[in-house]
Symmetry: C2
Subunit: 298 residues, 2 copies
Amino acid sequence: MAFRAHILGAAAGGGLPQWNCGCGNCRRAREGSIPAQTQSSLAVTGNGRDWAILNASPDIRAQLAATPVLHPTGQRELPLTSVLVTNGDIDHVAGLLTLREMQPFTLFATDGIHQVLTDNPIFDALNASVVVRETIALNTPFALAPDLTATLFAVPGKVPLYLEGETVETDLMGEQTVGVDLQSGTARAVYIPGCAHLPADLASRLDGADIVFFDGTLWRDDEMQITGVGTKTGKRMGHMSMSGSDGSIAAFAPLNIGQKVFVHMNNTNPVLDPSSPEYAKATASGWIVGQDGLEITP
Amino acid sequence: MAFRAHILGAAAGGGLPQWNCGCGNCRRAREGSIPAQTQSSLAVTGNGRDWAILNASPDIRAQLAATPVLHPTGQRELPLTSVLVTNGDIDHVAGLLTLREMQPFTLFATDGIHQVLTDNPIFDALNASVVVRETIALNTPFALAPDLTATLFAVPGKVPLYLEGETVETDLMGEQTVGVDLQSGTARAVYIPGCAHLPADLASRLDGADIVFFDGTLWRDDEMQITGVGTKTGKRMGHMSMSGSDGSIAAFAPLNIGQKVFVHMNNTNPVLDPSSPEYAKATASGWIVGQDGLEITP
């Protein structure tokens, strides 16, 4: 029995390169001078045999093809036990459309996130007779996979972009955006791909974990503006930045965490270029910058 | 001014390898002994500069990344003018979710197909203020892109799997499944990725075309059964097979067509293995077996 996590996709929505983006990172990724990264997803196992996928990204077909531990073991037998979705964002749910084909697994989410799927009949492609949708209450442990217990908890965030109304609350605490506490034997890992800021009770929860996978969307709050690809700040998108006095690197510095891993990096984030000063700063601060295919063990 | 077509994805829904499939073709594609193929999509241009994409497959991000003529030409400038969807199947519409990011283009479909999208609020990710949804009537020419005129026409088919009710009509003729007639200068190409059978009036339409891209889902009608991956026949899925007296190879034999190209091949189709006798038979019958990245000119 041993916990392992495999980063299927390290980038945020859009991936690297993003289909319509000509920013420096996207150009370099197309040229092959920095590694391309697919969209946000993490595979986890508690026993090395049965796997759960946290968030189903639009790139999931390519991600699974590139990951031998998740390949079919027979005509239609798979090591995949379950899929868990942490919010209704397209980068986390669109891949569910790929997981059709009458393949049994359990789909875990909060009631609020399941409702987003139910409101879209296209997700009936996951035939209810083979894909069981289990509703998980916050702060209630459940068996995510054999030898792997999970607990969902609210983190500050917002509703998906395509459900935004006239006014947008970017600091919601509820079922729309959750983190995942993972326990396997004595190992404890926490997965939070989207987080608007780090309140004290969330920091306490992370303190003492063996591994934390955390929202690495932006290096700085005005990054979309200074790279010329957009007008929104990180705060408006519901993501705290890595740098600055209110950033994640500073907020995590006092915490005792075995391994801190950034995931869900936007294509504009300079840490996606391993030769950048920002990458050097993040790693010097004790962070691992997530990469597609990287495996993390406690 | 010159018509060109670029096969973005040659496989049917699921792709090759399909995420949960251990059939011979899928195993060989994972090993690299036959070429992998992404899901059904074709890019076309009438002038070599402005492109339209016919069907937005779930693999569209990887397809665009692999296709330099469709890369951004500036921070957010693209050679993509429009996207046309020929039915509501997941392999043809799920990629629309990737084409978000406030990028302007025109989305063409029949009223019936647009309705499928409207019924799913997740497609509001394509912000209506930048992605214009144009409804196209059957048999009415329209400007798909500069120097490229298209006409939609009904072909025999069925509604998408996720919209099937208790009884399924597999020979519907209407707005659910359409073919596309493309005209650029004197060149004429026809694109029909799904077709249940070939009635006489459809055969007449194809006669004399420079290029026809046609439904190559299955080699034989009971292929899902004999490969052990499913129970449905090709007819039940709304696809005519390549082989046999009622197959497409026989039906096309009397027609005068410049180039006949199979697209939308299911992962079970033996023609996906270039060393198979079926591949040899198809090519000996004058067909090109489509491949990811293959470019076709009149």
